[in-house]
């Protein structure tokens, strides 16, 4: 019921010490080599690691110049565009791109717009003009809509949306002008590092166990009960249902499945495994085969075994 552990000491990992190391001068010589970037192998950096000479290259994001060298300031992969060297950080906030699917949470209601936390550097903005309003998709916005914005989304509400454009300050503008998008209910949120969510054909995943997944590219993942097909369709736009805060009746088997899927995602995030639809499907089957209690995934070695089994299959 209650277990204490020690903080695992990272320094006991001896692989670092075992690997052969060159004299710093020799390493520098290797780094300045131009061919260093042309290889297909992505190169990982440590903060403070010399990447290249500042005379031949320009520094980009994630780097700084000290004396003659371009030095990485974050852990990440080195990227080069012509003479510009950047390091794309592994642990970072979400970098939005137009067309990305994100899951966000309303933080503020402002005149004609909502502020949305989407795990980015700035809050995203959802304009009143970019949501579906009751009474038809193509309706003009009225003053009465402005006065009842909290009936659509209020603080704390979760929604799924698409990145529409960027403002001049870099904040993203979202839209929910599709019946796929809108307010989220019947489930729970799991947060993972954004880099673990790959761009997929579809970010709406239905698992056969009666669970729907929405993989937001910002690392917010919504795990919910499967929506009935009858809810979809252009004709069936019902403002009551779209902006409802009421959950459907969910049986305990589905609840158990939701929490099992959430735990699988947490285990993968902990082991830093990128998530894909096939991986999640196989992992769910594996967990059902093991017939393990879902909580053991997080507590015991079952999580490690799961990741090991998946790395063999995929």
């Amino acid at each position: 019921m209650l277990s204490f552990i020690s903080f695992s000491s990272q320094s006991t990992d001896s692989t670092y010490h075992r690997s052969a190391r060159h004299h710093p001068d020799v390493e520098d010589l290797m780094d300045v080599d131009d061919d260093d970037f042309s290889g297909s192998e992505p190169r990982l950096t440590c903060p403070g690691e010399t990447i290249t000479s500042s005379q031949a290259f320009m520094r980009g994001h994630g780097t700084y110049v000290d004396k003659e060298d371009v030095i990485a300031s974050v852990v990440g992969t080195v990227e080069r565009v012509n003479k510009l060297v950047t390091v794309r950080a592994i642990r970072t906030r979400y970098n939005p791109e137009v067309g990305d699917l994100v899951v966000g949470r309303i933080t503020e209601v402002q005149p004609r717009r909502w502020k949305v936390d989407a795990n980015s550097r700035q809050d995203a903005i959802l304009m009143l003009s970019s949501v579906n309003l009751p009474g038809g998709v193509q309706r003009r916005k009225l003053e009465s809509d402005e006065l009842q914005m909290r009936n659509f989304f209020e603080e704390g509400d979760l929604l799924v949306a698409e990145v529409q454009a960027f403002f001049s300050d870099g904040a993203m503008s979202l839209h929910t002008r599709s019946l796929k998008y809108g307010k989220l209910r019947n489930g729970q949120l799991v947060t993972v590092p954004p880099i673990l969510v790959r761009r997929l054909k579809s970010h709406f995943i239905s698992l056969p166990c009666g669970v729907d997944l929405i993989l937001g590219l910002n690392g917010y993942i919504w795990v919910s009960k499967q929506a009935k097909d009858s809810d979809q369709g252009e004709e069936g736009f019902d403002a009551e249902a779209v902006y409802s805060n009421q959950n459907d009746d969910i049986d305990s088997a589905t609840r158990a499945a939701i929490s099992r899927v959430s735990n699988i995602i947490r285990v993968f995030a902990d082991h830093f495994v990128p998530l894909t639809d096939t991986l999640l499907l196989e992992a769910y089957e594996w967990v059902i085969e093991q017939e393990g209690d879902a909580k053991r995934l997080l507590l015991g070695d079952t999580g490690d075994a799961l990741v090991a089994a998946m790395s063999l299959r995929c």
């Binding site: 949470r105 989220l184 009421q246």
Partner: protein, 333 residues
Amino acid sequence: MASISKAEKAFIQSSLLSDPPLRADSRGLIDFRTIALESGVAPIANGSARVSIGRNAQDGGGGTEVVAAAKLEVESVGDGEGADGGRVACSVSCSPTAYPLLSPNALDDLQHDMTSALNATLSHPTIRPTNLGIIPGKKSWLLNLDIIVFSDAGNIFDAIFMAARAALWDTKVPITKSVQYRAKKGETQAMDVDTDETALVGSALDTRQAIQVADFELPDYWDEGEPLDGRQAWPVCLTLNLLPTLHFLDATLQEEASVPLKLLVFYSFPSDATPLLRGMRLLGTGVSDLTQVKSLLKDGEKYARNVWVALEGKLKDEDFRRNQKARERFLNR
């Protein structure tokens, strides 16, 4: 604290109330997440500890993380707040990164709430350690217990009290020796410093000693000494999250946001006496009645004993790790 949507709140509540009760991460109602604890993390403190509840096993991220450090300071009795026999002052500060959505003012309020809960319990005169005095009526130790909250993933009060207990368990009080000024025989004018070997024990041969003690010195280094008295007295905290008709332990932030009421109980379990309830607090917007609180106290005592036993085992392990094992490692180097 965390803002969650009405739908999430309803989902969490209905899952808890369903049969069998189910939590977001499939834990049982009285299961804790894994707790990591390490003592002696701050080298210049007299005692310190770091506690993390529910951190990820692999990458070490997530979870509630708290660091506690105890520092002793000499204080003159009489002027200011100094008290004869020493005192304990606690403070909790929250890193802004732990609550990124809170404004600085709200963060101050939160820190103040946490400090008051900790201070009211740990600075209580009834559990003041007996070895905080230096010179009776003149000097005493002031024990500053500072706690920093680095991240909050729920159940922050339990983590704070665990870290506090671990840091106080780890605290060593430097041994002091009293010094008195005594005139040498035949030289009535010149004063000379002499150390008094028998210190506060007092000698039958010299009755003046007790009143003439003027100052003290440290025979050892400042970081050596005897353990702070009252290891058995420092309480543990247990948070019972109350959703009408049931209660559960070690809530995550989302769960905390969806329960109307939390009951904090502070228990200590001295080995030779009955369990002591050191304090309790009701937090939240809900209400509770006396019969419910009585039954909750009984349950709380049971759970708190589990926490106490597990924590004590871990603290002894830590002592062993830092003393005996470190010595062996040094020898086998």
